[in-house]
Amino acid sequence: MRRVRRWGPGLLLVSPSIVLIAIFVYGLIGWNVKVSLSNWRQAQPSYHYQGLQAYRDLNSDPVWWSFDVKHLVLFTVVFIVGTLIVGWSLAFLLDKGVRGEGFFRAVYLFPMAVSFIASGIVWRWLMNPAPGDRETGLNAIFDKLGLHVLANQWYLGQNWGMAAMAMPAIWALSGYVMALFLAGFRGVPEELREAARMDGASELRVYRHVVFPHLRPVTLAALIILGHISIKVFDLIVAIGGKQVITQVPAVYMWINIYDARDYAKGAAIATLLLVVISVLVVPYLVFTVRSERRV
C-alpha cells in the first residue's frame, strides 16, 4: 500500500499521455504494419492477411532500388556530410571569438525557421536548369562571373541530381548543427584547455586532443537528427522536383502509392520500412545513452 502511495500519483499524472501515445503512436504503427501485410490494394479498405506480398512487389519494382533508394542514399550522404562540415566550421569560427557573435548566430540559425516548402520554391528558382539564353538563377550568376563551366543541370542531373537536391537542406540545417557544436565547444572547460597549453601543447593540438574528443556526443546527436530528417524527406523534394521519378525518394513514392495508385498495402510497406530504418539509427543510440547515464 505504501509503495502504491509512492508511485501511484506519479503514474496517475502521466497516464493520460501514456494512453494517448499508446493509441496514437504505437496503435497506429501497429495498424500501419497490419495494412502493409493486408490485401488493401484498391480504394476499398480490406484487411485480409496477404503476407509480405507488398514488400515483395516493392523489391521487384524497377523504381524502388535503382531510383528511390539510390536517390535517398546519395541525398543522405551529401546532406549529412555537408551539414556537419558547414555547421562545424561555422561553430569553430564563432568559437574563436568574433565581434557580434549573437548576430551571426541568429543569422545562421534563421534558415531553419523557413519551411522546406518555402525554401524549396526559392531553391527551385536558384537551381533553374534552363539552358542558353533562358538561363536564370545560379547558372546565370556563374555565367556573369565567367564561370560557365560550373553551370549545370542541378537536380535534373542524371547521376548527381540528388546531390544538388541536398544543397537547400544543407543550407537550412547547418545553422542548427552550428548551434549544437557551439554548445559543444563551450562545454569544454577552459581549465582543460589552459592545462594543455601549460603543458606546451600548440593551439592545434589543444583542439586535436582536448576539444574534439569532447564533441563526440554532439556529433553523434547531430548525425542522428540529420539522419532521420533525411530519411523522411518529402516536402523539399516535392517543392523542387514535384512528383517525378527523376527526383523520387521513398516518402514520395509512398504518397504516390496511397493517393494516386490507391495501393494502400504497398504505401504502408514503404512507411514501415522507413520506420525500421530510422529505428535502426535511433534505438541503439537511445539505449547507449540511457546505459551510460545510469553508469554515471
Binding site: 479498405p45 559543444g184 495501393d263 551510460s292
Partner: protein, 435 residues
C-alpha cells in the same frame, strides 16, 4: 559536463523527432461539419486559379441569387489536375465526411468512388432535365457504370491540340502546319537546322510527357486501336505501339528542351508565345492561358496571331476529350440541395456561363457559339463532327492505379530510354489493371 551534454542531445533528438513529422504532415483543411443550423451547399473542387476560378465564381453568383436559403460554400483545394485535392477528398470520404458534391474527371477515374459505394447514381436527374438528349452518347457511355449514371459533366476539354508560333514557323520557312507525322518530324528538323536558338517542341514535367505520349499513341494507332488498348484484350506488345514509343523517344531525345522536368505546362506554353519554341502539344486549357486576362495570371495574347493551333499530326478528325464532372456523394449533408446543384450544372444557362470563362466547350450540344472565343468556336464544330476518344492522362480511359503504373514507367523511360523495357512495363500495367 558530458552527462548534461548527453541529456541535452537526447532531448534534442526526441524533440526534433516529434516536431519534424508534425511540421511535415500536410495541412488538412478545416473540415466543415454541417452542424450549422442553416443549409450550406458544400462543393469540393480544385478550381482555384485563372479561368477556372472565375467561371466557378460566376456559377456561385447565379446559385446564391436563386438559393437564398442554401448558399454556396466553396471548398476548393489548390493544385494542378487536382493531385492534392484528390488526396484531401480521399481522407474526407474515408472519414465519412463527404461534401455535397465533388469534382472528378468523367470516366474511369470516377470508377474508384463508384465501386467503393462513395457516390450515388443520379439517373433521375438526367431524366427529369432531359440531359440524356442533349449530351453525346459516347460521353454518356463513359460515365455510365452498370447501366447507371453517376455524374454531371460540366465541360469538355480537348487534349490533342498542337499549338504553334506562326512567326517562328515563318522564319523557318514553314508555310503550313503539319498534318501527318512525317510532316511534323520534317518541320521539327527544319526548325532545328534553321533556328538553332529555338526549341522545336516545348515540353514540361512528367505528366505533360504522358500527355504527349497519349497523343502519339492516338496518332499512330488511330482511334479504334487506341480504344482497344484499354480493353481486356488490348495488345500493348504490337508493332504499332513500338512505333509510337520510337516516335516518343525521338521527340524526347532530339527535339525537346533539356529542362523539361523543371517546367509546368504553362512554362512550356510560354516558350511558344515568347518565340523560344515552335510547337507545344497540350490540352486546350493552353488557349485559356494564352488568351485570358493578365489579371487572372494569363498572357492576354491574340488567338490566331500570337499563336495558332491544329489537331496533333495524325489525329485530324479525332477529338481526344476529357471532362470535369460533379457527383452526388453518399451521405452528403444536404442531398436535396446537391441534386438541385447537379440539375443546375447540366442546364445550358450554367454551361454557357461557365465554359466561355473557363476556356472549354459545354458538354451539352446546344451551346450558343456566339458566346465563345475563336479557338472554342473551332472546337465546338469539331466536337460535333469528330470521332471521340477518351484521354488517358485526364482520367477517362484508365483507373487511377493504371495511370500511376504508366506514370512510373514513363518516369523510368525518360531516364533510361530503354524502349523494350518501357513497352514491357506498359504491357504489364495493362495486364494488371485492365478489366
Amino acid at each position: 559536463m558530458s552527462r548534461l551534454m548527453r541529456r541535452l542531445a537526447v532531448a534534442a533528438v526526441l524533440v526534433s523527432a516529434l516536431a519534424i513529422p508534425a511540421a511535415a504532415s500536410p495541412a488538412t483543411p478545416s473540415s466543415s461539419s454541417g452542424t450549422t443550423a442553416s443549409c450550406q451547399l458544400q462543393v469540393f473542387s480544385w478550381w482555384t486559379g485563372g479561368g477556372e476560378a472565375a467561371g466557378l465564381t460566376k456559377l456561385i453568383n447565379i446559385w446564391n441569387a436563386n438559393h437564398k436559403t442554401c448558399p454556396f460554400k466553396n471548398e476548393t483545394v489548390a493544385g494542378g489536375a487536382g493531385s492534392n485535392a484528390k488526396a484531401v477528398l480521399a481522407q474526407r470520404l474515408a472519414a465519412k465526411n463527404p461534401p455535397d458534391s465533388f469534382q472528378g474527371h468523367a470516366g474511369k477515374e470516377l470508377l474508384d468512388y463508384i465501386k467503393a459505394g462513395q457516390v450515388l447514381p443520379i439517373d433521375s436527374i438526367y431524366k427529369e432535365n432531359g440531359f440524356d438528349k442533349v449530351m453525346p452518347k459516347s460521353l454518356l457511355s463513359q460515365i455510365t457504370y452498370k447501366g447507371h449514371l453517376y455524374s454531371v459533366p460540366v465541360n469538355i476539354h480537348r487534349a490533342n491540340v498542337l499549338w504553334y508560333n506562326p512567326k517562328v514557323l515563318r522564319q523557318a520557312g514553314i508555310t503550313k502546319a503539319p498534318v501527318t507525322w512525317a510532316q511534323f518530324v520534317a518541320d521539327l528538323k527544319r526548325i532545328e537546322a534553321k533556328l538553332p536558338n529555338v526549341t522545336p517542341l516545348a515540353l514540361g514535367e512528367e505528366w505533360t510527357q504522358k500527355h504527349l505520349l497519349e497523343t502519339i499513341l492516338i496518332s499512330t494507332l488511330g482511334p479504334k486501336g487506341w480504344n482497344a488498348l484499354w480493353t481486356k484484350g488490348g495488345n500493348w506488345n504490337s508493332a504499332k505501339v513500338s512505333t509510337a514509343i520510337a516516335r516518343f523517344d525521338d521527340l524526347l531525345q532530339n527535339y525537346t528542351n533539356s529542362d523539361a522536368a523543371s517546367l509546368t505546362w504553362q512554362d512550356a506554353g510560354k516558350l511558344v508565345i515568347d518565340g523560344k519554341a515552335a510547337f507545344n502539344i497540350m490540352g486546350d486549357w493552353q488557349d485559356g492561358y494564352f488568351s485570358g486576362t493578365t489579371k487572372g495570371g494569363n498572357l492576354a495574347k491574340k488567338p490566331g496571331v500570337a499563336y495558332k493551333w491544329t489537331a496533333v499530326p495524325g489525329t485530324t478528325g479525332v477529338y481526344d476529350w476529357l471532362s470535369d464532372s460533379f457527383t452526388l456523394p453518399k451521405g452528403a449533408p444536404h442531398p436535396a440541395a446537391a441534386k438541385q446543384w447537379l440539375a443546375f450544372l447540366g442546364s445550358s444557362k450554367a454551361q454557357d456561363t461557365f465554359n466561355p470563362v473557363k476556356g472549354s466547350i459545354p458538354a451539352r450540344q446546344d451551346a450558343n457559339p456566339k458566346l465563345y472565343g475563336p479557338y472554342l468556336k473551332w472546337a465546338l464544330t469539331q466536337w460535333k463532327t469528330d470521332t471521340l476518344v477518351g484521354s488517358l492522362t485526364h482520367g477517362v480511359v484508365a483507373s487511377n492505379a493504371w495511370n500511376a503504373s504508366i506514370d512510373t514507367a514513363i518516369g523510368l523511360f525518360t531516364q533510361t530510354h530503354d524502349k523494350g523495357a518501357f513497352q514491357k512495363a506498359l504491357a504489364a500495367a495493362h495486364d494488371k489493371n485492365a478489366v
